[in-house]
């Protein structure tokens, strides 16, 4: 019994040592990322794998529409580009990243929904997208979701966008779900699927990459409304400032410019009605 107690004590002592050894490095990390309350840097969550919206290779400069809006907003909040720390936030991680304080805000094709609103707050929307179809450039048959009967369709696992087509528009459609849209695009090119579906701006971004140039087109017949918001932690004070920055960005033309660059050469234009209508109205910051 004695030896057991002694060894337990030794283990306890050892773990205290290990923990205290870890502690300084943690505080060190916190000092570097002292972003709350307008410190040195701001940590912004983006996607790294969506060309045209949020795309980054290695440690290079991220590109895309989400990134441009994020830079503009950050500047309005008083951060220069050098003070932005980019963080990758894949879809399934976004709420956790905000709650855990890993990022200060998220610009990552983040649709505003009630379920998400329960865990995080939203500013914006800075863009209103709609579900659409990407088809081969020479395809004239597929003009909308109704024309998909007997066709093959690709989408991403964990999104019901493809399911929705099957249930509401074309029952005879065959679905393949993949880990990313890049796979879907290779199938579209090889002819194994006839269309790829998700939000129109994501499709336009895919079609605009140099290797896909001229090969695909967005059908331009959006059949849902996705309001892309800026995810912020619940109760964040930045909400109103972000909204003001978005309004200003739309007014001074930088918004349009960023959008044109991101979707260049695809013939895609965002839905005028959606982006100027009631759906584009900014979220209230009071809740």
């Amino acid at each position: 019994m004695r030896t057991k107690l002694a060894s337990a004590a030794a283990v306890a002592a050892a773990s205290v040592l290990i923990m205290s050894a870890c502690a300084p490095s943690q505080t060190g990390g916190d000092e570097g990322g002292e972003a709350e309350g307008g410190g040195d840097t701001v940590r912004i969550g983006i996607k790294y794998d969506q060309p045209g919206l949020g795309f980054r290779e290695g440690d290079g400069d991220p590109t895309g529409f989400d990134v441009e809006v994020a830079k503009y907003v950050a500047e309005e909040l008083g951060y220069t580009e050098d003070q932005i720390e980019w963080v990758q936030t894949p879809s399934a991680n976004r709420e956790n990243a905000l709650e855990g304080g890993e990022v200060d805000m998220i610009f990552a094709t983040y649709s505003i929904t009630d379920e998400r609103d329960e865990r995080v707050d939203f500013a914006g929307p800075y863009f209103v997208a709609g579900q659409d179809l990407l088809v081969r450039a020479d395809d004239t048959e597929i003009t909308g979701p109704d024309a998909l009967d007997g066709k093959n369709l690709c989408s991403v696992t964990g999104s019901t966008s493809a399911q929705k087509i099957k249930e509401e528009y074309a029952q005879g459609v065959e679905l393949v779900e993949q880990g990313g849209y890049a796979e879907c695009v290779t199938y579209l090119e090889s002819g194994q699927v006839d269309a790829v579906t998700t939000d129109d701006i994501i499709l336009a971004g895919l079609a605009a990459t140099p290797e896909n140039a001229e090969k695909f087109m967005v059908v331009g017949n959006a059949f849902s409304v996705e309001r892309y918001g800026v995810g912020i932690p619940t109760g964040s004070e930045m909400c109103e400032d972000i909204n003001a920055a978005i309004t200003q960005m739309k007014e001074d033309g930088a918004w349009q410019e960023a959008l044109d660059t991101a979707t260049e050469g695809t013939g895609y234009t965002p839905d005028e009605e959606l982006n100027n209508g009631p759906e584009a109205e900014l979220e209230s910051c009071d809740d």
């Binding site: 879809s91 976004r94 956790n96 865990r119 999104s159 019901t160 393949v176 993949q178 090889s190």
Partner: protein, 224 residues
């Protein structure tokens, strides 16, 4: 508790897990058959057969399952356009089963080979002495004893296979991990319940297998 009820009501959780069970069952039979053949290759007296068996095991065992799965769908289906069925659901299910079978056969082969090592050399010599050639000796004398000695590693392989069925999501099969992505996408407010639902589901599948394996390996062990 309400969270669980909401998830079970809104999503087909049981159906998704049933897909994992189906994948597991078919791939288990397939990999057992292929694994046994490979094990025969590896213990055969013909050198080229042994080389083939060794090469298969070393190559497949050291390739991540995801790579095999993605290779099937992205390359064989996507580019070479090989289609087993015109229905996508059945086609991708077949791809997933093939990938799982090919991958786990290498582990089954090694499990059986470890069982073969438990069979005393004298057994094989006695089999030869009564005039049995390689295949009859393997079928009647060696494999029955080897399988009984290999139950624990075979059970481990089955458990690994069960959990690896989640990789089938990469081949567009609507199973539990794909459903988890969907649930997280649409109900991030229930994140903890989602995690627990999937985790408990797999515990319910896997723990009985572990218990059964232990029980069987005790019951069937060869008394020597």
């Amino acid at each position: 508790m309400n969270g669980f009820i909401e998830l079970l009501a809104e999503y087909d959780v049981l159906g998704a897990f049933w897909m994992n069970v189906t994948l597991m069952a078919i791939a288990a039979v397939g990999s057992f058959v292929l694994g046994t053949i490979l094990a025969l290759f590896r213990i055969s007296p013909v050198e080229s057969f042994r080389a083939i068996g060794t090469a298969y095991v070393n190559i497949v065992r050291n390739t991540p399952l995801t790579i095999i799965m993605v290779l099937g769908v992205l390359a064989v289906w996507g580019q070479l356009q090989v289609e087993f069925f015109s229905s996508f659901a059945l086609n991708f299910f077949t791809y997933a089963v093939i990938a799982l079978t090919l991958y786990h056969a290498s582990f089954v082969c090694e499990a059986i080979r470890s069982g073969v090592n438990t069979v005393p050399l004298g057994q094989v010599e006695a089999a030869r002495a009564i005039g049995l050639s390689f295949l009859p000796a393997a079928r009647i004398i060696v494999l029955p004893q080897a399988l009984r000695g290999a139950i624990t590693p075979l059970g481990n392989t089955l458990i690994a296979l069960t959990k690896n069925t989640t990789v089938a999501a990469a081949a567009s099969v609507a199973e539990a991990s794909g459903l988890m992505s969907t649930m997280i996408e649409f109900n991030p407010d229930l994140m903890v319940y989602i995690f627990l639902t999937i985790a408990i589901g797999f515990c319910l599948l896997v723990i009985p297998m572990g218990i059964l394996t232990t029980w069987l390996s005790d019951k069937l062990s060869v008394a020597r």
